[in-house]
Every structure is written in structure tokens, then in C-alpha cells.
């Protein structure tokens, strides 16, 4: 059996890397990681991106939390969370960089 793409991604995160795949035939980044097409190459993102969209989630009895879609500069999009700001202060277009919380990639405002 092939190695799990999700496990490979998670291992990178635990080591402090945001890894993604590159499709050399199509000439584009691929996310989430996949087993196919053949020839996908693993690369490591510089971890810099832009908030593409954002929402504040309200659940009774819990503090409001952010959920965002981040466009990484390498050309892939992922769901994540922006920390270090009030959830409602996270704006579309905000430049962010990756950080890791217990092996989970989150983002914070880029300096």
C-alpha cells in the first residue's frame, strides 16, 4: 500500500513545515495532498499567504472563534484559523504567516 498523504502532511506539520504537492504536468500546486496523479512532488510552503475569506463562529457557551480560507503564496488554498486577533477583526486580504499549535497549522498576521 502507498503511504497516506494525510499522514505525510501531518508529519510535516509536527516538524514545523507546511507541505503541499506540486503537479509538474499541470504546473500547479495541489492541496489537499493526494495519491494521484502519479508524479506529484512534495514541496514545503514558505508559509506566507492572504486571507481569502473569513467567518466568526458563534457557539453558545464558547468564545467566538475564527475560521478562514487562506491562499498560500505558492498557489494553494486551505482552511485554517487566524489567531492573535479578535475573530471579527480578521479581514479578507490580510497578509498572514503560518504557525503551529500542537501540530496544527494556524495563521497570524504577518509582520
Amino acid at each position: 500500500m502507498s503511504a497516506s498523504p494525510a499522514e505525510r502532511f501531518a508529519a510535516g506539520c509536527r516538524a514545523g513545515r507546511l507541505d503541499y504537492q506540486w503537479d509538474p504536468v499541470a504546473g500547479r500546486a495541489v492541496f489537499y495532498p493526494r495519491l494521484v496523479p502519479d508524479g506529484l512532488q512534495w514541496r514545503t510552503s514558505a508559509g506566507l499567504g492572504t486571507v481569502h475569506s473569513t467567518t466568526t463562529v458563534h457557539v453558545r457557551g464558547e468564545p467566538p472563534r475564527n475560521v478562514a480560507l487562506i491562499d498560500l503564496d505558492e498557489g494553494f488554498r486551505m482552511m485554517s484559523r487566524v489567531r492573535g486577533l479578535e475573530p471579527d477583526d480578521v479581514r479578507i486580504g490580510l497578509r498572514v504567516r503560518v504557525a503551529f499549535e500542537d501540530g496544527v497549522p494556524v495563521f497570524e498576521a504577518a509582520p
Binding site: Y32, S53, T54, T55, T56, H58, V67, L69, M78, I92
Partner: protein, 378 residues
Amino acid sequence: MTIAIAGVAESDLGAAAPGTTALDLMGQASARALADCGLAPAEVDGLFAASTQLPMATLSLGEYLGIRPRCSDATQVGGSSFVAHLAHAAAAIGAGLCDVGLIAYGSTQRLVGRSSASVQERDPYEAPYAPLLPVSAYALAAARHMHEFGTTREQLAEVAVSARAWANSNPKAFKRGPLGIDDVLAAPMISSPLGLRDCCLVTDGGAAAVVCSAERARALARPPVAVLGVGEAQSHRHISSMPDLVRTAAADSGARAFARAGLGPGDVDVLQLYDAFTITPILFLEDLGFCAKGEGGAFVEGGRTAPGGPVPMNTNGGGLSYQHPGMYGLLAIVEAVRQLRGESGDRQVAGAEVALVHGDGGVLSSQCTALLGGPATF
């Protein structure tokens, strides 16, 4: 071969008695739809069904009604499934796989709770951020629409206000009474920019439709409704993989349905656009060609889709105020058929000859569009 919808029905709607099952409501709606057109269960030879609570929905339905079909399709693409079933039933009848198709749905989502009725598979790339699905996905699209086009929360609220105004003429609506834009804006926030009144109801219920050749339908009890054209499309499963948050695959499904029907948006008299959230009809009005991309917010302003407005939309009160039992698409078909038969009572759109039904499934993932016609369109 022209295919027709010969019978439609809802099950009991609203809050089901404790112990009622999704299959009970699916079966009840089915029996009523067959009675509507005067067919017996034994005459059904094709079953088309889906429910998040019934993974083998056509097997369950056949057992419940005592039907042994020679053709079945349990396509599950979310709330749009039943518009897809309409396409598949029409194709199956045309190909001779069956003669009479029964499309059915049932849910006890309110009774058993949304988390148990609609189990979401855990995605390793989204789950760590705990989005409230599906609402957060639609919120991300709404936020992006507001950012790109200047759409406002007031414009989103217009969709809910319009739905309520229609619901006030529908005795079967779950939510009735006055609702203004300020009421929508003042409701508790769920996943910004969508508040409680931007979100569909959670109710129990089911629906069913009987489909057969137009020739056969003409000999039955009710005026047949023509299936003029159906289009299907899909673009993603997860919101993080949606190619463009403000452009849905309704542009594809709509173009396919219009092409098959030989019609355009200007020919449509009444619209049933799946309103899981207030942003969805705005996206679909744009993607189906009723207004330009980005102008959906302005398009719905001033009650233009409400009773008395030029674009009658979601005339039963929609998923926002009428009923939303987990998946709504079949209820939208039922209302379109009733409008084309002229049976919608106080909410009847005068002279409605062509109806558009648009189903949305997943998180803007599956889009299915059907154009239906009244007696004059055969």
C-alpha cells in the same frame, strides 16, 4: 418522449411525533403523491430516493410500500438530489428501464437532532478548525460576495423577508408572522455574516413526486406538468476546494437545463431556488442568468422577489420560512408543480406557465436545475 410529473405531495410537516422515522414520512408522502394522481403502489416500477438517515433509501422505500421496482437510483448529492432524480427518472423512462418513477424523501432532523440526522464525514484538513457545517461554508461564500461586490447584510436579509412574506400565505409554513430586515439583522449571529434568520429552518417532513410519460400522465387524475429540461453539475465537496466562492456550478446546470428546454431566463414565470441560507438565492439568481454576476444583492432589494414583485421566488416560503427537513429540493419541486397547476391558493402566481426549480447540495457543491411547464407547454 416528453416526461411529466403526474403527482406530488408532502408528508406531515413540522415537528414529528416521537418515534416517527424518516421512512415513515417518506412512505406517507409517497402514498399521498400516488393518491394525488390516482396510481396504486403496484404500478410503480422505478424508485428514486435519498435521505441522510437512510443510506439505502430505495431499498427502505420499496420494503415500506411493498414495491419491487425494476429500476432504482439512490443518488445522494445533498439537497439537490431530487432534481437529479428527476433527470435520472426521465432518462430511465425514456430508455425503457421503468414506466412509472417515484421520487421520495423523508427526514426527522428536528426530532432526532441535526448532528445525528446529518452525519458529516470527518475531513482531516478542515476538521481541526471546527467549522459549523454547513453554515460556515456558506458564510465564507457570503463574506467573499460582500467583499467582491459590496453585497450588504441588508440585501441578504431581503431574501429572508421575501420568504416570510410568501410563507404568510402558506398554511403549511412552519414560521409565519411579520419579519422585517431589522429583525433579521438583530437575530443572533451563527457564523458571520449569517445570523439565525439567514439560516434555513430545521423541521421534520418528506415529499414525493410521481413521474411518467406525458401520454400516460394525461390519463391520470391531475393536470400533468412537463419536465422541459434538467441540468446537473458539481464542482467540489469541501468549501476549501470550491474553485471560486462566488461562482457556483449553477452556471453549468442552468445552462444545460435551459438548452435542453430551449428556454432562457426571460421565459420563467416563477422560481424555486434552494434557500438553505440567504446567500444562496442571490448566487443562483446570478449564476442562472437572472442578473449579472455581483448584482444579486441589488436584484432582491425592495421586495422584488416577494408577493406582488416582478420575480416571484420561493412562493411557498422556502427553506427559510416554510419547511427545511434536512434536505429541501423535493419540496421545491412540489411547489413548482402546484404553481403550474394553479393550485397555490393565496400565493398563486397568476398565469404561471414555466417554473424553474434549482437544487443545491453539500456546501454549494452540487447544483441541479429543472425547467417545468404547465399544460400549455406540452
